[in-house]
């Protein structure tokens, strides 16, 4: 008798935790946006009625997209090198990728404050080179946010893809070359197509991560480069406009969930192993 419920008995506490602390509160946040005194869609009308907030949404999507594309390119090539590296070197490279990943977002973003600041390393270097005679304003631009985001997410992409690339048997690469494929052709026609599912997983992780980030755009973009995350905080904790904040939250959930579901669908269609 106990046996029949044992599985439930053990999984229910954790399920309840997620239900009570996640599903109920998040559902309440989203539900609140439809319970506005002024009508069910008023907070959304406010959001999309404001040119500033529309720009924030657009900027966030832009930053996340650019970050994802750069991370895909950089991560894929680097992961390929790592996956083909000899044993010992490979472990060292993986450690070099894991370490930044385990270092906090705040710390890693802060590093770019030192690098990109008006008296930062990069400006000092450019002055010393004589490229310019007065420092560039690099902080608080979209570019500075993107650079830091790429820095944030490249290790994640590398680690995701190393796993995928290592799963490609050496035999396949040898088969390709025995059939006359040059290394470049092997990469294009065998390695890349087989890595597509991994690239999609990586893209989803990086896009959702950068779309919903807070600390990096806050430190490197400030008020001038407001994104959805910083907007949510500003609405909730500075303006105390909880309805407005809830609308921002709801839009973030919708975008995130649709990207995840959409990409999973694409992944299923592109999966080389399914007919």
């Amino acid at each position: 008798m106990v046996k029949r419920f044992a599985g439930w008995l053990m999984s229910t506490p954790a399920t309840l935790l997620v239900l009570l602390l996640l599903l109920v509160p998040v559902a309440a946040t989203i539900a609140a946006t439809f319970g506005d005194a002024r009508g069910p869609f008023a907070p959304y009308a406010d959001f999309f009625g404001s040119a500033f907030r529309r720009a924030v949404l657009w900027r966030t999507i832009e930053i996340a997209t650019i970050t994802t594309l750069i991370a895909l390119f950089v991560g894929f090539l680097t992961a390929f090198v790592v996956s083909r590296a000899p044993g010992r070197l490979k472990s060292i490279l993986i450690i070099a990728a894991v370490f930044p990943l385990l270092t906090g977002v705040v710390v890693r973003s802060f590093a770019w404050l030192i690098i990109l600041g008006k008296n930062g390393i990069l400006n000092n270097f450019l002055l010393w080179l004589g490229v310019t005679d007065k420092p560039f304003a690099m902080l608080y631009t979209e570019g500075s946010v993107i650079v830091a985001m790429v820095y944030l997410f490249v290790p994640l992409m590398i680690l995701t893809l190393v796993g995928v690339l290592e799963g490609i048997p050496d035999d396949l690469l040898q088969a390709a070359s025995s059939l006359g494929a040059t290394p470049a052709a092997t990469f294009r026609q065998v390695v890349f197509p087989l890595a597509v599912p991994g690239l999609i997983v990586g893209a989803v992780l990086v896009f959702t991560g950068s779309f919903t980030s807070y600390a990096t755009p806050q430190l490197l973009g400030g008020e001038r480069q407001m994104v959805m995350g910083t907007l949510l905080y500003q609405r909730a904790m500075v303006a105390f406009d909880w309805q407005g904040a809830s609308a921002v939250a709801a839009i973030m959930v919708v975008v995130t969930v649709s990207v995840v579901l959409g990409m999973t669908r694409i992944a299923r269609r592109l999966n080389p192993m399914s007919s």
Binding site: A176, S178, L179, G180, A181, T182, P193, L194, P272, S275
Partner: protein, 353 residues
């Protein structure tokens, strides 16, 4: 089209371990040669060196007039059939077969025609659109074969291609590979650890051990006239008995084994016998006879039933021996008997240094 493969003084290392030393082998045009040996004997290393996946530390590999030794793998033009087939999982059967043609820049219509013709040859015409995951083991094997053949390589190589198939399929595929190779007359190298497979498929077999060729000959010669004790044991001469000649009378030779057992052997039956030699005998080459008949005295041990005969583990003055006896005369454990060599199942070897 078809060309001889010449390997001269090849050596190779994995790190500091030398896996191939001073290895030479010449395979005639159109010949199918097997490299046979246990794992770690260097057969796969040899194949990978020929394919260009490993770089030799010395020696040359030539195919016809062309020196392959330093040529990158993708320019060697060798058809390779892998142990686990190595089919591209993201490409259809037809795309897999057409992969090599595509690399050679063949036009799409030509490619399609040649792929279709090849699929017909391996009887996979209807499966051209399937992905490898949807095929059975035997079908994958055919795709791998078709993919290697369609580029019409001057050299075909097989890396234990049948080891992942079940026994029945294996025998069928063996015949197919042989027929296909005969029809094309392509020089071929076949790597395997299965003696029956190597012997049934090859023109000649190189038996390898520890990075060296122990004997390179036709299967018939290897089977009946092994050149040394290693090959003899490998082809089933389980009993190796060291002997020396005491006297010669015409064709007859009287020889003595360690422990004093004496045998009279006919050189007409056994071939020329040197003064010191090793008598190799398969279990069926040592016949259990009565204790009063001539032969090696032995005490019979464990008896097992083989269907056509009984096999006995025996104790003798020359050490443990395996012999066979007639079904009609089952002997009990512990009984005394003599073991008589049967020339057709024996061989004469020079003693090892």
């Amino acid at each position: 089209m078809t060309q001889p493969l010449t390997i001269e003084r090849l050596s190779a290392h994995y790190g500091k371990v030398q896996v191939l030393e001073d290895f030479s082998l010449k395979i005639e045009a159109g010949e199918l040669v097997s490299l046979l040996g246990a794992s770690g004997c260097g057969k796969t290393t040899t194949l990978r060196l020929i394919a260009g996946f490993l770089e030799p530390t010395g020696g040359t590999i030539r195919l016809g007039d062309q020196d392959l030794t330093r040529l990158p793998a993708h320019r060697r033009n060798i058809g390779l059939v892998f142990q686990n087939y190595a089919l591209f999982p993201h490409l259809t059967v037809a795309e897999n077969v057409g992969f090599g043609l595509k690399q050679r820049g063949a036009a799409v219509p030509e490619r399609a025609a040649r792929v279709a013709a090849m699929l017909e040859r391996v009887e996979l015409t209807d499966l051209g659109d399937r992905l490898p995951a949807a095929l059975s083991g035997g079908q994958r094997q055919r795709v791998a074969l078709a993919r290697a053949l369609v580029i019409e390589p001057p050299l075909l190589m097989f890396d234990e291609p049948l080891s992942n198939l079940d026994a029945k399929l294996r025998v069928g595929m063996r015949a197919e590979i042989r027929q296909m190779q005969r029809a094309n007359g392509t020089t071929s190298v076949f790597v395997t650890h299965d003696q029956e497979e190597a012997f049934s498929i090859s023109d000649r077999v190189a038996i390898m051990q520890a990075g060296r060729i122990m004997q390179f000959d036709t299967p018939e010669t290897l089977y009946s006239r092994p050149a040394n004790a290693f090959v003899a044991r490998f082809v089933g001469f389980e009993n190796l008995i060291e002997m020396r000649v005491l006297a010669r009378k015409g064709d007859l030779v009287e020889a003595e084994a360690m422990g004093g057992a004496r045998l009279t052997l006919s050189q007409v039956e056994f071939g020329a016998i040197p003064d010191a030699f090793v008598l190799g005998a398969r279990p069926e080459g040592l016949m259990v006879v009565g204790p009063d008949a001539p032969g090696i005295p032995a005490t019979l041990g464990l008896r097992s039933y083989l269907g056509r005969a009984y096999q006995y583990l025996c104790d003798s003055a020359v050490g443990p021996l395996t012999a066979q006896g007639l079904l009609g005369a089952a002997q009990e454990v512990g009984s005394a008997a003599r073991l008589q060599p049967v020339a057709a199942q024996c061989c004469i070897l020079a003693p090892e240094a």
